[in-house]
Amino acid sequence: MFSEWKWVARGLYLLLNFCSLEVSGGLVQSCGHIIPESPVLTLGSNFTALCILNESCLDFGNIYANQIIWKIKNRVVPKEQYREINRTVSSVTFNDTSSLATPLTCNILADGQIEQNIYGITVTIGLPPEKPKNLSCIVHQVSKLTYPMTCTWNPGRHTFLDTHYRLKYRWPQENFPDCIPKDVNNSCTITDVQFFVNLEVWVEAANALGKAESDPLVLDPIEIVKPLSPHNLSVNSGILPTVLKLSWENRISAAVMKLKFNIRYRIVGDTNWMQVPPEDTASPRTSFSVQGLRPYTEYVFSIRCMKEDGVGYWSDWSEEKTGVTTEDKPSKGPPIWRVIDASCPPASWTVHLMWKPLKPFEANGVILQYEVTVRAKSSSSSPPEKYNVNTTNLTLKLPNGTYEVTVIAHNRVGASPPSVLLIPASNSKAPVKNVRTLPKDGKLWVEWTAPNSYVLKYVIEWCLVSNSSDCIIEWQNEPGSVQETYLKGGIKPFKCYLITVYPLYADGQGSGQSVKAYLQQARPSKGPTVQTKKVGKAEAVLTWNHLTVDEQNGFIRSYTIFYKTVDGNETAVTVDPSKTEYTLSSLTSDTLYTVRMMAYTDEGGRSGPDFTFTTQKFGKGEIEAIVVPVCLAFLLIVLLGVLFCFNKRDLIKKHIWPIVPDPSKSNIAQWSPQVPAKHNFSSKDQMYPEGSFTDVSVVEIEADDKKSFSEQDLKPFDLLKKEKSTSEGHSSGIGGSSCMSSPRQSVSDSDEGETTQNTSSTVQYSTVVLNGYRDQTPVQVFSRSESTQPLLDSEERSEDHTGGGDSTTQRQQYFKQNGGQDETNTDRPCFERTKQITSANEGDLVGFAQLQISGQNSQPLGLGLEKSTQEAALSDILHTSTEGQTVRPETVEGNPPSADEMPKSYLPQTVRQGGYMPQ
C-alpha cells in the first residue's frame, strides 16, 4: 500500500497552452500555478493546495476560480474538498495524504464544456526517520596496530524517502568526521579508534521530512575490543608423561590490553573438548603447561584471549595444534579369560588363554610383549612356567588341576600390574541368577542378580549364533560391584547372541549362566516351508522344519498355518513354535487345499511358500471295505459255478463235448481185411493227436426236410469245407462213390444180397477225419464204424437209387444226378463229372473244386474212389446248405498233397492191394 504512495520527486510540468487567447511574441504563458510546488508530505497528514489564476487570464478569458477542477492523475477530486478563496484562488484539501497521487493538477472548464489543464505538481509522500535504536559498537582487531570500530543500529521503519544515516563520534574536546554507511543504513565502520579516551557515538538519520538522532553511546573503545587470537601456538611434551607445554604469541600489545586466556584440548579422534580451568589462565602470558594428560596420547590444543578484566569480547579460537605426551608404564594388566577344552586326553586340558589388548589410555605406550606366568596351585614346589608372547592368546596343554595365570604387559617404560586368572578344576562356585538382556540405546545390556558371595569380577562371554559360522567367543570383564553392563563389541541387529555370565571369586569361579538375546529383532527373512506328511480324507498332517537361526531374525513366537480351498475362505491356525508337525482336521474330502505357514517374531511374521494338496476321496479302510466283499462275492460265485459245473459235468459234456464213438473200437474194425493193429491207426491217440480233431459230425439229412439243417448243424461242414483246402477228400469205403468204381457196385458185384442185407440192417460207416493239426499233414483215417445206426439217408438212398429204389422226386433228382455220375463214371473222367456238378450247383463248388484238383493231379483209381465217396457225401451236404460264397479253385491249389504224403489208410491199402476187398 505504501508503494502506491511512493512518488518519486520528479518534476512534471504540465503547463499546457490554454491561454492561447493571449499570445505575444510566440511565447505561451500559463494562466495559473499551484502552491506548494512539488511538496514532500508526511504520510497520513492533511494537505491543502492552492491554484492561483493569473489576473490576465481572468480578464481575457472570463476564467474564474469557481471553474477550477482538481484532479489526481485522471481522477477528479470531489468538489467537497474544493474551496474558492477568491475569484482567482481555489484550494483543495486532503485529510489524509495517503489518498494522494502524482500528478495533482488544476484544471478549468472553458466555456463550461472544454476541460483545460492549468497547472500540475508532483507530490512526494513519506515518513520522517525514526530514532535509530540499539546502537552498539565493537572493535575488531585486524592487525597489531589497527583497530576499526564497527557500530550497528536499528534504523527503524521504512521512510519511503531518501534517508541519510550518519554515525557521529567525538571526544569531549575533539570532533571527528562522520562515518557514512555505504550501501546499508544500519552499520558503519570507523577505520581507527584510539583507546583510553571516552568516545561519544551516536547515529543521525535525516530525510526531507525530518531528522532523528539515536541516544549517544559513550564508551572507551578499549572496552569493546575483540582481539585477534594468539598465534604461533606450539605444543611441546615435557618431562612428565602427563604434561604438555603450550607456547604462543599475542597479537595485541600489553600496553594496549592485558589478556586472559582460555585453553581447550581434546584427544585426537575425540570430539569433546576439555578446558583448562579459566582461573589458571586469567593473567597475561605467552605459555602454559597443561597437566593431567594421559601418557602417550595425542592431544589437540586451541587458545583464545580477551581483555583481562573480562570487558570486551573473546577472540576467535586459534588454529589447532597437536602434541603427544610421552610414554608411561601400563596402568593395568590386560583383562584375561580362558576357554578350556576338556575333550582331549582325560587327564589333561587344552587351555586357550586369551587377553585383550590394553586400551591406549591403559597401555600408556606401545606394548612390546606380554609375559604369561602359569603356576600350578596344587604343587607349590614346582616352579611357575613363563611365556613371553607378542600375541594376545596362548594355548597350553595342562594336566588337570588348579592354576593361577598372570599376564603382564610391557612397554618401553615398564611393566603393567599383573592380571590374575584362576583356572579352577571345576566351576563349583555359585553362579549368578536371573540373567536377562535388554536392548537400550542401540546397545545390548545384560543384567543379572549377583550371588550372595563376594564376587571379584564378572566375565561376560558371548558369541554370535549362526549356521554359517562357528560360535566365536567374545568376552569382557566387569567389576564385581556391577550387576549390569552392555556388550562392548560390534553387536549386530537381527542376530542371535548367546550370552554367558561367569562370576569370578577370589578362589575360583562360578558356572556360567546363559541367555540368548537379540539387539533388535525383525521379521523372519523367510517363512517355513510346509508340506504334507500324510493326507487323509478329512485331515492332513503337515510338517515343516524350524527356520535356521540366520533366518529367524528374532525369537520365533508362534507359527500360523493358513489353509484354504480354491474358492473358500482362508483359515488360520496358530501353532506353538516348538512344534514341527500339525494335523489339519475337518477338511473336505477330495478337495484341493492351499496351505502356507507364517513364522512370527516380536516384529512380525513372514510367510513361507504355498503348498497344495488334495484330500483323498475315500477314507482309510473304505476301499478295503468295498473291494474285499466284492472279491469275496466274486470268488464265491466262481466257486459255486465250479461246483455247479462239476455236478453237471455230464450234461455239459454232453452238450459241449459229446462222446463220439471211436471208430477204432467199432465192430467194423473186425471186418477189416487187415487187423487194425497192422497199421498205424490202431490207436486213436496215435492217429489223432489230441486236438487234431476239428470236428466230428453225425449228419442226418432228410430228403424231405432240407431246412431241418440248422446252421449249427452246418458249422461242421463249413469247417469241413475250409479244411478241404489242405486235405484230400476222403470217403468211407461204404456208401461213397468213386470216379472209377463204386463200392456199391463192387459189393453188388460180389455179393449183392448179402450186402443189401447188411446195409439195411446195420450200416457200417466210417468216420472221416479231414484235417491235420496245426498245419501238419492230415492223417487220413478210415475207421470202420461199429455203429448200428442206419445210414445217412443220402447214402442209403443213393444206394437205393443205384439199386433202383423209389424215393421222392428230390431225392431222386439228387441221386439221379449221382446216378448219372455213376453211369458215366465208367466212360467219363472225374473232371467232367465235377464239371457237371458245378454247373448244377455253383454254390457248392468249394468241395468239388477241391475234388477236381485232386482228381486232376494224381489220383489213382483207389483214391478216386475215395474222392467219389466223399464227393457224394459232400454234394449232399452242400446241396442242402445255404448259398455259400463261391470259392475259386485256385485258392486251394497251393497245397496239393503228394502221393507220398498220403497217409496210410484203410482204403488205400485195399486199393493198392488191388481194389476193394469185400468182407
Binding site: 596496530l145 571526544w171 574536546q173 575533539e174 584510539q194 583510553f196 579516551v197 572507551d220 600496553a255
Partner: protein, 195 residues
Amino acid sequence: MAAADSPSAALRRRDLCSRGIRLAGKMRSDVVDLLDAYVERQGLDASASVAAVEGVPAAAVERWDEQTGTQRLLENLAAYRAFRALLAQMLEEQREQLGEADTALGRALAAVLLQVSAFAYHLEELLRLESRGPPSEEGAGPPPAPHLGLFERKLRGLGVLRELAQWAVRSARDLRQLAKPTPGSGSAPSPAESP
C-alpha cells in the same frame, strides 16, 4: 573546586589516572614503533644525537619526587600541548614531503597525534579535578618553527618523537603518583612504584 573531594570526583580522578597511565603506555609503545618507522623512512641513523627540541619541557627533571600533583599535571599538559603542535606540524611536513604515498607513516603519526591530544585532554580533566582549570593554550604552544632545511626537519622530528617517548614514561609515573590514595601533593613515591 568542591568536586575534588566528592567520591565521584575521586572515582573520576582514579579512572582518569588509570586510563591515562595506560594511554601513556600505549603512546610510548606506539611512539617507539613510530620511531623505528620514522628513522627508516626518513633515512636517519637511529643512534644520531639530536639536540633538545625547542619549546618542549624536558622530561627529565630534578627533584621530580618533590613536585606536587598540580605541578606535574601542568608540566605534562604543557609538554603534550607542545607535542600536539609539533606532531601536527610534522604530519603536515610529512604529507608535504611524501604526499599520500607513505600512508602508513602518516597514519601512525596521526594516531600518535590523537593519543597526545587524548592525553592532553586527560590532563586537563585532572587539572579540573584538582580545583583549577587548565591553563589557557595561548602562548603555551611551541615557538614558531624556524626556517629549517629538510634534514633539520627530519632530525627535529626524530627529536620530537624521542622526547615524546620519554615523556610517555614520565607521564605514566606522574599519573601513578597522582593515583595514590592520599592526594598529598608533596609525598614522594615509594620505591616499588617507581618506574
